[in-house]
């Protein structure tokens, strides 16, 4: 009987405190959802950039190799490449952010990097000399050329 009385007793119930508690819980839950959604979107942006970098890097490596192959195949015919121009376009921004492209001739790697920590390296292979370059975003049109006098492959902005 005592237990039933305690359960039915509503003397300690306060509508105001109940409302405040409900409001506080709602605010905390909403804030938690917002924070997790924000970090989720940040992760998506980074992984999207890295995926794009991978595609960009392998595409660029393919283009450089194409020029190198053309020079080598020509040599196998006893021929001399007078000129090769390979024009291509890269997006100025990915996921709304600029990025840098570093083409090294020490490790023969294309390193694409953005401020948000997205970093991808794509290896490439050339048998002719290759001039290393670094591009800092913004440009969209590029050109790969071959200098027959120095037997060198260049990449430049158009």
């Amino acid at each position: 009987m005592a237990l039933k009385r305690i359960i039915k007793n509503e003397e300690a119930v306060s509508i105001s405190i109940g409302f405040i508690l409900m409001f506080a819980v709602t605010v905390i839950v909403f804030t938690g959802v917002m924070i997790s959604f924000y970090s989720l979107s940040r992760n998506i942006e980074k992984s999207a950039m890295e995926e794009s970098f991978r595609i960009l890097g392998s595409g660029l490596a393919n283009k450089i190799t194409t020029v190198d192959t053309l020079v080598n195949v020509s040599a196998s015919f006893g021929a001399t490449v007078e000129s090769i121009e390979y024009e291509f376009r890269l997006p100025a921004t990915i996921a709304g952010k600029t990025y840098s492209i570093n083409l090294t001739n020490t490790t023969y790697e294309i390193i694409l990097e953005a401020d948000n920590g997205a970093l991808v390296g794509s290896p490439f292979s050339v048998s002719n000399n290759f001039t290393e370059r670094k591009f800092y975003g913004g440009a969209e049109d590029y050109i790969i050329t071959y200098d027959k006098n120095n037997n060198k492959i260049f990449i430049d902005e158009r």
């Binding site: 942006e45 999207a48 794009s52 595409g59 001399t80 007078e82 990915i94 996921a95 709304g96």
Partner: protein, 274 residues
């Protein structure tokens, strides 16, 4: 009305579940949309290198074919070059039409052999070509029916050498300004000296050269190719298959190709007739 007035909370539970499922679906969809929205890359397959290689190969084949067609029945240089020009012009006029079908362009320019000297004995026939090189490998020497050379010297020594499968020297003919020296390690009388006459044709399967008496198989090497120019022809079996290596001239040819992204210009010496 009954459902709204029901205080047993089933409706609230159901609504809660619906809202939860809706949130999950919305989050997954937003995730995909944001990921796809951030992907700004197109994937393109680049075929220009194959186009370029094809163009070089078919141009080489066509020029050789035109030379053989024009010269196989003999005739004067003006007549043979006229037939050669006719065939190659026909080819070069058709090329742009073929490439324009998919938005590209191709052009070739060429020369004929009027007033042209014989080729150097370098690998590509040009004065700056590779000096020491292999003409053919795996030759069954006894099957060689034709091995003729016409040589004009521009340097002190020019040499044709045969090596066996262990890469050991077995036969050679060395030309200098006055003599030719034949060395044959499989023959008892292995050293022969004769008078060299510039521009004369030597049949290396006949005595005293006796190339076709060698044990098979051998590879034939040219040494100091820059020191001589002229013609050669060799026919026989290599690796049990018929082969012909023959060079009269090297015709300077250039090919140019342009696609939407690639433009290339290539100078290509074409050795004729093979």
């Amino acid at each position: 009305m009954g459902l709204i007035e029901d205080h047993d909370a089933q409706f609230m539970l159901l609504a809660g579940f619906l809202i939860g499922i809706g949130l999950v679906i919305t989050t997954v969809m937003l995730n995909s949309i944001m990921f796809e929205g951030n992907m700004a890359i197109e994937s393109v397959t680049e075929n220009s290198k194959y186009d370029m290689v094809n163009l070089m190969q078919i141009t080489t084949d066509e020029i050789r074919s035109a030379y053989r067609n024009a010269t196989e029945k003999g005739g004067t240089v003006p007549n043979t070059t006229k037939n050669f020009t006719k065939q190659v012009n026909n080819f070069s006029a058709t090329l742009p039409k073929i490439y324009s079908m998919y938005g590209g362009g191709a052009r070739i320019s060429y020369e004929n052999w009027t007033n042209k000297g014989f080729a150097n004995f370098t690998e590509n026939g040009m004065p700056g070509g590779k000096d020491n090189w292999t003409l053919v490998e795996g030759v069954n020497a006894s099957s060689v029916t034709v091995f003729n050379v016409s040589i004009n010297l521009t340097g002190s020594i020019f040499k044709i050498e045969a090596r066996n499968s262990a890469d050991s020297f077995v036969w050679s003919i060395e030309f200098n300004n006055s003599n030719y020296n034949v060395t044959n390690v499989t023959n008892a009388s292995n050293y022969t000296i004769g008078t060299f006459i510039s521009g004369s044709q030597y049949n290396l399967t006949s005595h005293p050269f006796d190339f076709n008496y060698l044990s098979s198989p051998v590879s034939i090497h040219i040494i100091n190719g820059k020191n001589a120019f002229g013609k050669y022809k060799i026919q026989g079996l290599a690796n049990n298959r018929n082969f012909t290596r023959e060079r009269d001239y090297v015709l300077n040819t250039s090919v140019a190709i342009s696609t939407t992204k690639v433009k290339a210009n290539i100078s290509m010496p074409v050795s004729v007739p093979w």
